[in-house]
């Protein structure tokens, strides 16, 4: 470890511009800052693409959860950079590669061909978004960032119903990669890690997928319930997600608190439970997604006229998560979750579940309040949260000269 840390980006520390790093030789990473072109190569999307530059990062509201890409990967890293200069170089490299991968370019027209041909010689953007976030551990004494942490960023606590597995928790840096197809996600991860290998070893990673609507409306999760129905949208979503509190460090404005919870679903057990019981656990109808006091998915539950839980049990998931009162309105979160499927558990069960991901302005005011209300909810018999972490999504990359975390590190 210590050695990696020392040898990391030896060249980068020396390189002046250090905009981009190319493949390493014999474990050393060589800077090619001199040769780096300053302008982004001309964009030529061969498929969907989302604006890379802007005040906020893509992959949260662009595309919005209801239209999110079908494939995703969450990859958490530990940072080994020796000092803040090396950390800045690392973030510059991630910026350069992400800009390139997400914007779509003709490989012949630029200096940094992709290192693999997983997507063929001329890879399309495929709707790729790269969303970079950092964990509270990055703000320890290694990089002189101790006083700069977003105000509410902590290590994700252990919640009462968790079964934490250290192999799946936390990290200094998290990449959320989303695209229309899994090969594009894989390709992006390989491209970025090739150029950052000495500086940020992988800690854990998990792939997710979104289901199509079945048969219509919001896609279903692996418990067979429509998931995402009540998400805030439009301006309301923006007003809940982006950090704008003047009390936050100035660099953090335009960022967002990100919570990732890896939640195993006990799907075999779930399939042995009656539909009525399942519906009472969530507070919605399984087939239509309608709230239990409504008839179609878009209906709004009215808890005020159901104080004893005749229609919607008081401990139903949606009622606890969002009681829909004036006091809880600013506690709402933006969920952008994916399904996952891994291998088999020791007991022969499927390892499958939910990559629960949510965004908010203030993790304490929002996610933590939701989570506290959900503690001990009856649903917990059928799910096991085991991994993830609290992260802070860096503000967006503004233009060709900007890079992830520039305001934090300069």
């Amino acid at each position: 470890m210590t050695m990696d840390r020392r040898t990391f980006l030896k060249g980068a520390a020396a390189g002046a511009a250090g905009v981009a790093l190319s493949g390493g030789i014999g474990g050393l990473i060589v800077v090619r800052g001199e040769q780096a072109p300053h302008a982004t190569p001309s964009a030529k999307p061969t498929s969907d693409s989302y604006a890379f530059h802007g005040p906020n990062q893509a992959g949260i509201l662009t595309p919005a959860p209801a239209a999110k890409q079908a494939a995703a990967c969450y990859a958490a890293f530990d940072v080994l950079a020796a000092n803040s200069t090396e950390l800045a170089d690392l973030l510059k490299t991630i910026t350069t590669r992400s800009r390139y991968l997400a914007s779509g370019v003709d490989p012949s027209a630029q200096d940094y061909p992709s290192s693999d041909t997983v997507m063929g010689p001329q890879f399309p953007t495929d709707g790729l978004t790269v969303t970079v976030s950092v964990g509270s551990s990055l703000f320890d004494d290694r990089y002189g960032l101790a006083g700069q942490s977003p105000r509410h960023l902590t290590v994700m606590p252990v919640f009462p119903d968790d079964t934490p597995d250290p192999a799946w928790l936390h990290g200094d840096l998290l990449l959320q990669l989303c695209a229309d197809h899994p090969d594009a996600v894989h390709h992006a991860l390989r491209d970025i890690t090739k150029r950052t290998r000495g500086g940020m070893p992988l800690r854990w990673k998990i792939e997710g997928y979104a289901s199509p609507p079945r048969p219509s409306g919001t896609p279903r999760n692996l418990m067979g319930f429509k998931d995402g129905t009540a998400n805030p949208t439009g301006d309301e979503a923006s007003s809940l997600v982006w950090v704008n509190d003047p009390a936050e460090p100035a660099w953090a404005i335009g960022g967002s608190y990100q919570v990732v919870r890896l939640i195993r679903m006990l799907v075999e057990f779930w399939d042995r439970v009656g539909v009525k019981e399942q519906e009472n656990l969530f507070g919605r109808m399984r087939d239509s997604g309608a709230p239990l006091d409504g008839s179609v998915e878009a209906d709004i539950p009215n808890y005020a006229v159901d104080p004893t839980g005749i229609y919607t049990p008081l401990d139903a998931h949606i009622r606890l998560a969002n009681p829909r009162t004036a006091e809880t309105a600013n506690q709402r979160i933006l969920r952008r979750s994916y399904n996952y499927d891994l291998g088999a558990d020791l007991n022969g069960n499927l390892q499958a579940g939910h990559i629960f991901v949510c965004y908010q302005q203030d993790v304490e005011r929002q996610f933590a309040k939701n989570q506290a209300r959900l503690a001990g909810e009856p649903l917990i018999d059928y799910v096991q949260p085991f991994g993830g972490g609290y992260f802070f999504v860096l503000p967006g990359v503004r233009d060709d000269n900007d890079w992830y975390g520039r305001q934090l590190l300069t």
Binding site: P157, V158, F159, P160, D161, D162, T163, P164, L266, E268, F269, R272, V273, G274, D345, L346, N347, G348, N349, D381
Partner: protein, 249 residues
């Protein structure tokens, strides 16, 4: 939720049954406590297993005895300090200590507390939060073994003893006992099928023994483990329909 006639009586039978098992548990927990008081750790490990298996036979699956049950059988999951958390107490806390070289002196106060916590379960056994509500009996029929799958065979509740198969075997005993109470209310063919599927599971478990001792699942050859998992999965699919059959909607 209306239940079919006879479930109330079956639940009364269950309370009588579990109160008998709790009496055995109290004896075994007392023995465990004395072992620790005399620093006899190897006897303590033996008596811990007896006590843990008694608890399985009570049939308090899926934390169905509420907070009092969790005090006896809770896991470190969900506690900020995990196994080192002061709120981690009970049988699994003792298991952790006994299989991780902790001293008898460290464990004695935990055993004292367990003696009191088991007594509290016995005192409150008929409360609706514990065994008093007949509706929970309809779930117990399948959830005792769901618990075995979720907590034992997954390795989640193994704090060092590697006792998953012994615990599963005790869970079969508890399920058979409950089936004896509700079975007469149901189709005899269904009950017979269920019983023979449980026999299959018992047979599969026997193969996971070495010199009379059950192996831990991780140490068990894959074919043996698969046979156990398959047999348990099969009986769970059958048991899953019981709760609905006992309800009268």
């Amino acid at each position: 939720m209306p239940l079919i006639p006879g479930v109330d009586q079956a639940n009364a039978d269950y309370i009588a049954y579990s109160s008998g098992i709790l009496a055995t548990l109290r004896t075994d927990v007392d023995a465990l406590r004395s072992d620790l008081a005399s620093s006899d750790l190897s006897s303590a490990r033996r008596d811990w297993l007896a006590a843990q298996l008694d608890w399985e036979r009570v049939g308090a699956s899926y934390d169905s005895f509420g907070a009092l049950g969790i005090a006896v059988d809770g896991l470190p999951d969900g506690l900020p300090e995990g196994v080192n958390d002061p709120a981690f107490t009970g049988l699994h806390r003792l298991e952790y200590g006994l299989w991780h070289d902790q001293s008898a002196a460290t464990l004695l106060p935990i055993a004292d507390r367990l003696v009191a916590d088991v007594a509290a379960v016995a005192t409150h056994l008929s409360d609706p939060d514990l065994a008093g509500n007949p509706l929970s009996l309809t779930l117990r029929v399948h959830e005792i073994l769901e618990d075995a799958l979720r907590d034992h065979l997954s390795g989640i509740d193994d704090e060092g003893a590697g006792a998953a198969y012994a615990e599963t075997s005790a869970d079969i005993d508890a399920t058979r006992a409950v089936l004896g109470m509700v079975g007469p209310l149901l189709d005899p063919h269904l009950v017979a099928d269920t019983t023979s599927q449980m026999d299959e599971l018992v047979a599969a478990l026997q193969d996971a023994k070495q010199s009379g001792q059950w192996l831990a699942p991780v140490a068990t050859p894959l074919p043996t483990r698969q046979r156990i998992d398959a047999a348990l999965g099969q009986v769970l699919e059958t048991l899953a329909i019981f709760p609905d059959l006992l309800k009268d909607d």
